[in-house]
């Protein structure tokens, strides 16, 4: 990752300096305070990544350790041209992330709007809505896999049977939908928290003025609340993407990436290559590809963030 720029550059007087020497000292202090965290982050995150790059150019399968050696770009070429699962996995990842983030945002918006009005027990309802975010992902995945979605003893299919229909075997008939559902259940509350903060920063005067002008609740929501929330939705979408793309516990616990590769996302694919196929070289090459693709997405997202930062400063 080459996003970091070394801060070790001569400090120069800032434009609006009160006194030159004072500002000089401030720059040095600023650098000193940043360095420990920066060095730690570089060491812990970049050292394993360097090793990944090295391994990606090696043939190294733990089942055949004697055949280890450098093979140039062979692993990359294999993945990009011959691995039957590669493009399916990329498509899975896009569906998984986009679907989960958008659904979480939409549900989070609904939850936030619901509890942003006064009614008896509002605090309790908000507490209930926040709770899934606090649940350990592994515990959530197991509860959903068994007690909610099981075809024989699960609640969801039982409810469907009450209206006389036969529910599907969720994890094999709709595996991606099932995994996304669990992710959304945990991340919609997160979106709600962000959007609620956004709603509470709308001044009551604006709302009241709108009401005095005879705006209906729906007009108030679409004309005042929603435009104001745009920034918060961007923030939620951004953070949601970062966290959700890495969600691996539900896939690991619920489907193991299957059936076939139906729920294998890129991070899970990397893990599978290494821990199940014992193919360190290809796993590493895949890891590098994931990082390169992330850099593209990061660059786009960072531009968005940058715009948000500038607006914040303005």
């Amino acid at each position: 990752m080459a996003v970091a720029q070394s801060p070790a550059q001569p400090a120069v007087a800032a434009p609006a300096a009160p006194t030159g020497s004072r500002r000089l000292a401030e720059h040095q202090i600023g650098r000193l305070l940043v360095l420990p965290a920066l060095i730690f982050a570089i060491l812990v995150t970049q050292a394993p990544f360097l090793l990944t790059i090295l391994y990606s150019f090696q043939r190294w399968n733990l089942n055949r350790p004697d055949q280890r050696g450098f093979v140039g770009f062979d692993n990359y070429i294999f993945l990009l041209t011959r691995d039957p699962a590669f493009y399916e996995v990329i498509l899975n990842t896009v569906i998984f992330v986009v679907g989960a983030v958008l659904a979480s945002l939409a549900l989070g918006l609904l939850f936030a709007e619901l509890v942003n009005h006064r009614f008896p027990g509002r605090g309790i309802v908000r507490t209930m809505l926040i709770t899934p975010f606090l649940i350990m992902p592994a515990a959530a995945a197991l509860t959903w896999k068994n007690q909610m979605l099981d075809a024989n003893f699960g609640i969801v299919d039982w409810l469907i049977s009450l209206v006389g229909l036969r529910g599907p075997v969720w994890l094999s008939d709709y595996p991606m939908l099932s995994v996304i559902a669990v992710i959304v259940w945990r991340w919609a509350p997160f979106m709600m928290l962000i959007l609620l903060a956004g709603m509470q920063s709308i001044s009551e005067e604006v709302r009241e003025a709108a009401r005095v002008d005879g705006a209906t609740a729906r007009q108030e929501f679409f004309d005042i609340t929603l435009p104001h929330l745009w920034r918060f939705m961007q923030l939620g979408g951004l953070l949601g993407t970062v966290f959700i793309v890495q969600e691996i516990d539900p896939i690991f616990m619920m489907t193991g990436g299957g059936p076939g590769d139906a729920t294998t996302t890129l991070p899970y694919f990397v893990y599978e290559k290494a821990r199940e196929s014992f193919d360190i070289g290809r796993g590493a090459a895949l890891g590098v590809i994931v990082v390169l693709m992330s850099i593209v997405v990061i660059t786009l997202l960072v531009r968005l963030l940058d715009r948000m930062l500038e607006r914040q400063e303005a």
């Binding site: 990752m1 280890r68 009005h117 039982w158 903060a197 709302r207 990061i298």
Partner: protein
Amino acid sequence: MATLPIRRAGRGVSRETASPLWAISAWIVGLIVFFPVLYMFLTGFKSENAAVELPPRLIFWPTFENYDAVFGINFVPFFRNSLVTSLVSTFFVMLLAIPCAYALALYRPKKWKDILFFFISTRFLPAAGVIVPLYVLFSPVGDPVLGVPGLGLLGTLQGLVILYTAMNLPIAVWMLRSFFEEVPRDILDAARVDGASLPREMFQIVLPMISPGLVATAFIAIIFAWNEFFLAYNLAPKESTVPMFMVRFVTSEGLFWAKLAASSTMAVIPIVLLGWIAQRQLVRGLSMGAVK
């Protein structure tokens, strides 16, 4: 269940009470979302046979046999390990992130934006992508073929603490920076004109002002560390943290839902209670200064 004080000077919240229909819809949605948690909690007090009974019984005579079974495995080490890794890693996160975010917000070193983006970009890297290199680096031998030394951290809590610190550091820097941004400049300028030293400026003036933000950041770090499964599963011993304790009750034969529900309940309760108590801070903390 915790009811929380919501009658703050109603900023943004509609002052009028919503219609009964609104209230009923909100309650229904809340109950649906909460149901899996409630059901998990209740199942922990059922016998294994009752746990798979349909229609499910929501009112029943509780049994403690699952908790007996769960307590039969010594859970204390798991909880102690989780507590230690969560708290120690959060301590290091704050130790590194506070000065860093402080400088990024209030001293603006050159390229402060690049630094901030570097931090957040480290959080974009999927842990799964580096699990093998981490394994190699953490092992006692390293990789002799490439001459990479091993750190001997495999299966240790120290290893997890290092990884959890790195995992939470970007979020903490990001959140704290936005809290420091909110500190009024004139207060700082006044302190500096008075010749306040940096430690005095930081510890006596700025940090007390943003203490809610500090609490929120620490909570987020604790939540993520406590709930982390993947790194612990791959790099720590099977007797390490609470998630490892929980999955012990998943078996391939026989009924295990009730015991799993009991162990899951125990695993999630500390964080759920913490989150319920700290709701207000979470709302503020997660908005990360976008409110301004």
